[in-house]
């Protein structure tokens, strides 16, 4: 059975027919020449399927917000072929049993490769290490460990985690948030937080942890991944660490590339997120860091919440926003359209680098013969207005409601099989 993506332009370059058989790209043929089951991709851009390092699928435990199936659907519609499911479920993914359950649910959904992230500490409590080795050896083959939502703030525990995961080439993905500096914090600490009477979340609370962690990683010779970098100062620290040869990688969310703290003045909790929306200067620095490679990956931090957790006063609301289905549009608008990154660089940030960081050998392949056929076919000329009611996610907390975004995911191919055709689930 041969699938032909007819007339697609890999990385925006010359149009070809991408010929796929047995889940693998077998040939890049001249446009309009190949035979097989044809999928029209005429003039559209082909990129390696996106890999998300940071997704909250909420199952088990918060199935009213999202399930592995609905999250997988949202991911496929967003051009993703792999997502990393964060560990802060209920029960927490801190044992081989839970990560295998999530992994199995991902297999059953069959729309993207679901890679469970294991908790660093038991119950995300920051007190003792979870059985990292058992999770690594399980069927889920966990390689990314994170207490996301909570920071591994104890320096000794962080050091031990960084050291321990070396045994199986794992990585600790740190949610950098000094807890004492952010008690009851509600938004970025700034002139605005003072005026709005919302407790401030200072940039230093993120930067101090990143600074400590890169030094720890250097000291013990481990690799470190920094989740959702949100400040200009964090970028400077990561840049400094990389220049010193420290094995650190970093991600940024789409929303931190486009939204700023002034939205909080509406007190609308759809803009409440951790880390908080920062200033325009931070947004500028983050975009530049993606462009120069200081930030390796774009990761959605897709965080579904049921309506009642956002339809309330700011302080009572949950933190987080949807991201899977809008990530490409935001990246296109903030990075590609202004000329900050090329299509090949975007493929690096949304597919190749996250696959490498997560040690996902089946993903992030260059679009050449022999590659596993994980492919996103996108139309950068299309625009659409975001309507949360039309998203596949079970939740509706998109901060882009009513905004116009460029770029449409036309087809998604996962391991050689279409999961999305012409913008709809196949």
């Amino acid at each position: 059975m041969t699938l032909v993506l007819r007339g697609a332009r890999p990385y925006g370059e010359e149009a070809v027919d991408i010929v796929i058989a047995d889940g693998v790209i077998v040939e890049l043929a001249g446009a309009g020449t190949a035979h097989g089951e044809l999928v029209d991709a005429d003039g559209l851009i082909a990129l390696p399927g996106f890999v998300d390092l940071h997704t909250h699928l909420r199952e088990p435990g918060r199935e009213e917000a999202e399930t592995v199936l609905t999250g997988s659907q949202a991911a496929a519609l967003g051009g993703f072929t792999c997502v990393h499911a964060m560990a802060n479920t209920s029960p927490v993914a801190d044992t081989a049993g839970v990560v295998e359950q999530v992994w199995r649910l991902g297999q059953e959904a069959g729309l993207v490769e679901v890679r469970p992230v294991g908790a660093v500490t038991v119950g995300l409590a920051g007190e003792r290490l979870a059985e990292l080795g058992a999770m690594a050896d399980s069927a889920a083959q966990v390689r990314v460990f994170s207490d996301d939502g909570k920071c591994v703030h104890d320096a000794v525990l962080m050091r031990r985690a960084l050291e321990y995961v070396k045994a199986f080439d794992g990585v600790v993905a740190q949610h950098a948030q000094e807890p004492r500096l952010t008690e009851h914090a509600q938004m970025n600490e700034s002139e605005l937080s003072g005026r709005l009477g919302l407790a401030g979340w200072p940039a230093v609370a993120e930067e101090a942890i990143i600074a400590r962690d890169v030094l720890l990683a250097q000291h013990v010779g481990s690799r470190l991944h920094v989740c959702h970098v949100s400040t200009a100062g964090s970028v400077e620290i990561v840049r400094w660490a990389k220049a010193r040869g420290i094995d650190v990688t970093a991600e940024v969310t789409p929303h931190h590339l486009v939204l700023t703290e002034d939205l909080v003045a509406s007190y609308d909790p759809v803009y409440k997120v951790n880390p908080p929306l920062r200033t325009a200067a931070d947004v500028e620095a983050l975009r530049a860091a993606v462009a120069d490679g200081t930030i390796d990956a774009i990761a959605t931090d897709h965080a579904p919440h049921p309506h009642e957790d956002k339809d309330c006063e700011w302080a009572a609301a949950a933190m987080g926003m949807l991201g899977l289905e809008t990530a490409f549009g935001v990246a296109l608008q903030t990075l590609v359209e202004p000329g900050l990154v090329t299509w090949r660089e975007l493929a690096q940030r949304m597919s190749v680098a996250p696959a490498r960081i997560g040690r996902v050998r089946t993903q992030g392949h260059d679009l050449v013969p022999g590659a596993i056929a994980n492919i996103a076919i996108v139309d950068p000329t299309a625009t659409y207005t975001v309507d949360p009611m039309r998203l596949a996610s079970k939740s509706r907390n998109s901060p882009y409601a009513g905004r116009t975004l460029p770029g449409r995911i036309v087809h998604t191919i996962y391991a050689g099989t279409p999961t999305v055709l012409d913008g709809a689930l196949a």
Partner: protein
């Protein structure tokens, strides 16, 4: 104007209209029958998610003097503590036909949410939200300042006011900085650096860490309530040290200009931010503030429900 959420909702003209109307309505209080028929048949709900007997009673008296029906809804346990949500409470009040909702809430922005949701149609009056604003307190303070220092008419141009204490956590300070500035006064915030909000340099006021520098040149000093619990969070070392460095006592009162007055939004911590001899001195105007609070709240209810001319 439909709601009163923040002192920044008010232009100079709006603020003067509220103060002038309050002055007229104050005369009702001097009559033997303390009641006007203005809001007969209208329903005002006092929705208090946080205890505040003084503010609630003040609004209740104000509404009753205007003949409105008053419902007190003490919603102890907001959605923060997993009680009934703000939304469901609001929908309930809407179903009961509230014309105005006076809301006190521990979450900054809760009145803003209420006013900008489609949960209720009536007017929303912020009676204090978290560490954000308390606009009617600022109005009653402005009214009191005007009465004492500007002959009860016009704005507060050139008036120098010091606001001293826990500015960081104070909704009273935030509303006063905005409103007093709108009325032309010059405000100086005085606090230990730990209790000064981040980014205060951008506020329309000056700041000082030294009360003794400021007192000789002000027309009024407003002392803020300081909760002793703040010292647990390391904002200051001890109640005693706070009191010594930032409290007002007889010696500090003596350096105030002759005509200067002392305000406090209440409830006072005698011996903490204010000593008993200052609190009980003739320059302290706390009792008048309470009386003026009723007049100002009558004025706000009257204008929001009876008709403040809509700026298109």
């Amino acid at each position: 104007m439909k709601h009163l959420l923040s002192a920044s909702d008010l232009t100079r003209d709006d603020a003067l209209l509220i103060l002038d109307t309050a002055a007229e309505l104050a005369t009702v209080t001097d009559r033997s029958v303390k009641k006007l028929p203005t809001l007969r048949g209208r329903t005002v709900v006092n929705l208090f998610f946080e205890d505040s007997t003084r503010t609630r009673i003040s609004f209740e008296v104000a509404a009753k003097r205007l003949s409105a029906d008053v419902i007190n809804f003490a919603a102890k346990g907001s959605s923060v503590s997993k009680g009934e949500s703000l939304k469901d409470t609001a929908l309930t009040l809407e179903a009961m036909g509230a014309d105005a909702v006076v809301i006190r809430h521990s979450a900054s922005g809760a009145p803003h949410r209420l006013a900008h949701s489609d949960w209720i149609q009536g007017a929303v009056i912020n009676a204090g939200d978290g560490t954000h604003e308390h606009p009617t307190q600022a109005l009653l303070d402005a009214f009191t300042l005007r009465q004492h220092l500007r002959g009860g008419a016009g704005d507060l141009a050139g008036l120098r006011v010091a606001i001293v204490g826990d500015v960081l956590h104070s909704r009273v300070a935030r509303s006063n900085v905005t409103l007093l500035r709108t009325l032309g006064a010059e405000v100086t915030l005085v606090a230990p650096p730990t209790l000064m909000p981040y980014g205060v340099d951008g506020w329309p006021c000056s700041t000082s860490f030294d009360i003794d520098d400021v007192l000789p040149s002000v027309d009024a000093v407003m002392m803020l309530r300081v909760q002793a619990e703040r010292m647990q969070a390391a904002y200051f070392p001890s109640a005693h040290e706070y009191s010594r460095r930032y409290g007002i006592d007889a010696a500090r009162m003596a350096v105030l200009p002759e005509h200067a007055i002392v305000l406090h939004p209440g409830p006072m911590n005698r011996g903490m931010e204010i000593s008993a001899d200052v609190a009980d001195s003739p320059r302290a105007v706390m009792v008048e503030q309470v009386a003026n609070g009723v007049s100002v709240r009558m004025s706000v209810l009257y204008l929001l429900l009876g008709g403040m001319p809509d700026e298109a």
